[in-house]
């Protein structure tokens, strides 16, 4: 196994590189993490626009289904629980990576993917139920905005699941190197970000929809 390039990069930014977490020790990798934070800032704008649209048209139901009539409390509560827990297990995979524990890393990735699949399964089930009851996205402005916002989050989660699975395969094959460590860290940043977006979806869409 290769040694850390400490000798080369030691003293970078006035800190000896071994003081830093594994994913930041190689400057080539840490600049990619910085770039990913920039992506998250822009992805946030996408969701900001979709939330703005939803908030503006949420009462425009055109006599069709309303928020109160289609939102199923046990369904979105369970979805929330699965996603919050998967954010935690994703965090534990970052922890395993930092401790150099490949077996734990792969296991926590598998648990996170399973929870993410459960979340997506429930969401698809919810959407199918809505459509079957006549709440299609062409029915009203409210439903168009609802399916676009929640569906964009759901497709982000789907992409995240594929991405995490591919990262899992790379870790299983190559072990924990500065490169795979950065990949593990970045996919988890994305996953935690999606958890935050979901917190706003259940607050702005589901809970507010039940009380207003």
């Amino acid at each position: 196994m290769m040694a850390m390039p400490d000798a080369i990069y030691g003293g970078h930014s006035g800190v000896t590189s071994s003081d830093k977490p594994l994913e930041y020790r190689d400057p080539n990798q840490s600049v990619k993490i910085l770039g990913f934070w920039l992506f998250l800032a822009t992805d946030m704008l996408l969701f900001g626009c979709l939330f703005a649209t939803y908030l503006v048209v949420r009462t425009h139901t055109d006599g069709g289904p309303t928020a109160r009539s289609i939102f199923d409390i046990p369904g979105f509560t369970l979805e929330t629980f699965f996603l919050l827990t998967s954010s935690f297990t994703g965090g534990l995979s970052t922890l395993a990576m930092r401790n150099g524990n490949k077996k734990a890393l792969v296991s926590w990735f598998a648990v996170t993917i399973a929870l993410g699949l459960a979340f997506i399964g429930l969401e698809v089930h919810e959407f199918i139920g809505d459509v079957a009851s006549g709440a299609t996205w062409e029915r009203s402005a409210f439903l168009s905005a609802f399916f676009t916002l929640v569906g964009t989050h759901g497709s982000h989660v789907t992409v995240g699941l594929v991405w995490m699975f591919l990262t899992l395969l790379q870790v299983a094959k190559r072990g924990i190197t500065p490169i795979t460590a950065r990949k593990v860290f970045v996919v988890n940043l994305y996953w935690h970000f999606l958890d935050v977006v979901w917190v706003f979806i259940f607050t702005v869409v589901y809970l507010s929809g039940r009380v207003m």
Binding site: M4, S13, L34, F88, V204, S208, M212
Partner: protein, 112 residues
């Protein structure tokens, strides 16, 4: 040099603990439980309730950023935190100002 799971590690390099993640998870569960409890039991009037729910969601951002995303760590100056704060300001500005302007009576009369 102790070799552990394929990663060379310096002697005395401290093992990272799960405490931070457990605290983060419990905080997110508690904040979520409060939000669901308040919204679904109808104990508050709608106006103040929406404000409380928004504050709870804001705290969840802090929990994820600090406990899970390690916003305070990094290599060099905290540029990533600046990107994120700027992104958050734009996001909230877009959403809240849209709500504000579209709530004007002139607009409410036109779009229904």
């Amino acid at each position: 040099m102790a070799v552990h799971g394929g990663v060379t590690r310096e002697p005395g390099h401290k093992k990272h603990k799960a405490t931070q993640y457990i605290v983060g998870y419990l905080s997110s569960l508690i904040l979520t439980a409060i939000a669901f409890g308040l919204a679904l039991t109808h104990t508050m009037r709608v106006g103040p309730l929406i404000v409380v729910l928004t504050i709870l969601a804001g705290l969840q951002i802090v929990v994820q950023l600090y406990f899970f995303m390690h916003i305070t760590e990094g290599d060099g100056p905290p540029f990533h935190a600046l990107f994120l704060i700027l992104g958050l300001i734009f996001t909230f500005a877009i959403a809240l100002m849209s709500v504000w302007i579209m709530g004007f009576p002139a607009f409410m009369a036109q779009v229904s």
